[in-house]
Symmetry: C2
């Protein structure tokens, strides 16, 4: 009898232990399935890839308890509805350059890139160690979203042109497929920015309906084949000296996560941010070589065009800062930080690069 | 009686369930405590910081089940014994630039930096997407270690000099505190490399026992105060165009980890690798400004010195490749990749930087 009671108590104790332990584990490592809408099709693997990397790392870290399924552009929501989708919780996550949404709010450009903005490294420095993240998160909160840096293209190319450019006058009336703030600058320089879906660019350029088109850099540009219809391949794409992608998360979904899953996402995004840049650098080098073999004629934009574009960009920023308090608030932090970064990078980094990158050709 | 049996069986079943469940959880998320020896003192927070960041993220991701305690240089093992410590399992992890150990094996320089090597971005591209990681892991396996990229300094400064340099002749007999392959190059250019502990540099430079000393970049250099005794602050530190830190893990310890903890470490290292660079960029800009205010006179190395250093570096690499198969195997991959990266970066990236970084001063 005594033994029976002991056993019974043992059973109750074991049951109690199990009951206490199980919810604790369930709370700290629940099984979760989320959906992520990318703004890119699967075929552009450098742009689509970071979302897959984030999903893969988060699953591996959590023993597959937290699974994120990645959908390419258009399968759940079209690319230009991805901010709204994260805002409303249609999906828990979206992966997109948030400057797609500067029509809603010009300050969203700071999430991605402004013409003559910071490079990949400098943007990261501002974001992680210069106050940028806090400012951008405050902005994104208005869209019921928390965002993470999650990828970068590096300095882009300026696009394919049917004719050579010598002066700013050559831009007059030039029909250039370019969007956003870059398009606004080009308009001030006399060009006519065109909005065309990517699938229409090749034939428009071939027929001469447009005179030039920009996309990203050698690896992506090669796939569209524009070199066959517009051989002059200009650089740099000064409107995107380093374009960042954001991972946007529906804020209530984020807040429902246990702390360990939040840390997993944060860490995986940092990895994806760096990995995308590394992959682009690796693949762009070879793609540029192939493009040149296919007939691309590399041309730097004339200095006059760069200088006028610099002035036009800052005139636009000053106008925006005067009329838009949100833009002004972030611009102040961003510009002070950028200008100091530009000065510092001229010293060790740029001197190193200017010598080293040409030394194999110039040192005898 | 029947009830008693049921209860007893129930107890046994509950115990069995607990016994089955607990090991499953224990296996997938065991409580682990590891020790990490950094090669740096806590005071150099940019160098010491990545190890702490890795420990913090791994703890957060695993709900504190996997805890890594970080020890500064010398508390468990001295900096130059950290590879041996990871090899023998004295500690599970060390954080160190593996070129500290080129005396054992010159090929270990590829883990960190070679003079005129790749920049931060290019090294990452080679490591993550150009075959570098596999080659380096094969090398590190000989030391019973698996290593991860875990931090970078970016292009360093060339150090503080008591006198100005005009030609290669000014290097004759110059006593320069510089180690490793950079020191070997300086020796070929006529200088006399000096090995001095960091704590002895200031007084040696003040007394004129040495003529020059290099360390890292503005933020770290400022702390040593060398500007007060050697005002000419040269750039770039061409022997470290981007010096990477490695996280070395004792291989049997690594192999004992569950897959989820391995993924946590891999992801946290990628984050730390990027974060260290971002922090350096943020703090170096302001530190350089302060150094100039303290009297630092910025000087670029004369082109003749850079050109002779380029030649000397590649002569050394060719000699090493002829006599050392391990060096030759990695050098072949590294050099092809580097040369292609250098060509690509001259196009969009360098043209962007050369214009943008000076535009605030030059565009009117």
């Amino acid at each position: 009898m005594k033994r029976r009671i002991l056993v019974t108590r043992g059973a109750a104790a074991a049951a109690a232990t199990t009951a206490l332990a199980a919810p604790a584990i369930a709370q700290s490592a629940p099984e979760i399935r989320w959906r992520l809408s990318s703004a890119f099709p699967r075929t552009f693997d450098t742009l689509f890839g970071p979302a897959e990397l984030i999903a893969r790392q988060v699953a591996a870290i959590t023993d597959n308890r937290f699974q994120i399924r990645v959908f390419p552009a258009g399968e759940i929501v079209p690319p230009f509805s991805t901010l709204e989708a994260a805002q409303n919780g249609t999906v828990e996550m979206t992966h997109v350059p948030n400057y797609y949404f500067i029509g809603k709010e010009p300050a969203l450009a700071f999430e991605t890139a402004l013409p003559w903005g910071m490079t990949f490294r400098q943007h990261n420095a501002w974001y992680y160690h210069g106050g940028g993240q806090a400012l951008l998160r405050e902005l994104m909160r208005e869209y019921n979203v928390i965002s993470f840096l999650a990828g970068n293209t590096g300095a882009q190319m300026g696009g394919f042109f049917r004719k050579e450019l010598r002066t700013v006058a050559d831009l007059q009336g030039l029909k250039f497929r370019i969007a956003g703030l870059g398009g606004q600058i080009m308009a001030r320089l006399g060009a006519t920015p065109q909005q065309l879906a990517l699938g229409e660019v090749y034939s428009a350029l071939e027929r001469g309906t447009i005179d030039a088109a920009e996309f990203v850099g050698p690896y992506d540009d090669e796939r569209i084949g524009l070199v066959r219809v517009a051989p002059f391949y200009y650089y740099p794409g000064f409107w995107e000296g380093g374009a960042a992608l954001s991972l946007n998360i529906h804020l209530p979904a984020w807040e429902s996560l246990p702390a360990s899953y939040k840390a997993a996402i944060e860490t995986a995004c940092a990895m994806a941010n760096a990995d995308m840049m590394a992959k682009y650098d690796a693949v762009n080098a070879a793609a540029l070589r192939r493009l040149v073999a296919q007939g691309a004629q590399l041309r730097a934009f004339p200095r006059e065009i760069l200088a006028e574009a610099w002035k036009a960009a800052h005139a636009i920023y000053d106008e925006l800062a005067r009329t838009n308090a949100k833009f002004a608030r972030i611009y102040e932090s961003w510009k002070v930080f950028r200008d100091e970064q530009f000065l510092w990078f001229r010293v060790a980094e740029l001197t190193y690069q200017n010598f080293a990158f040409t030394a194999a050709q110039t040192v005898r």
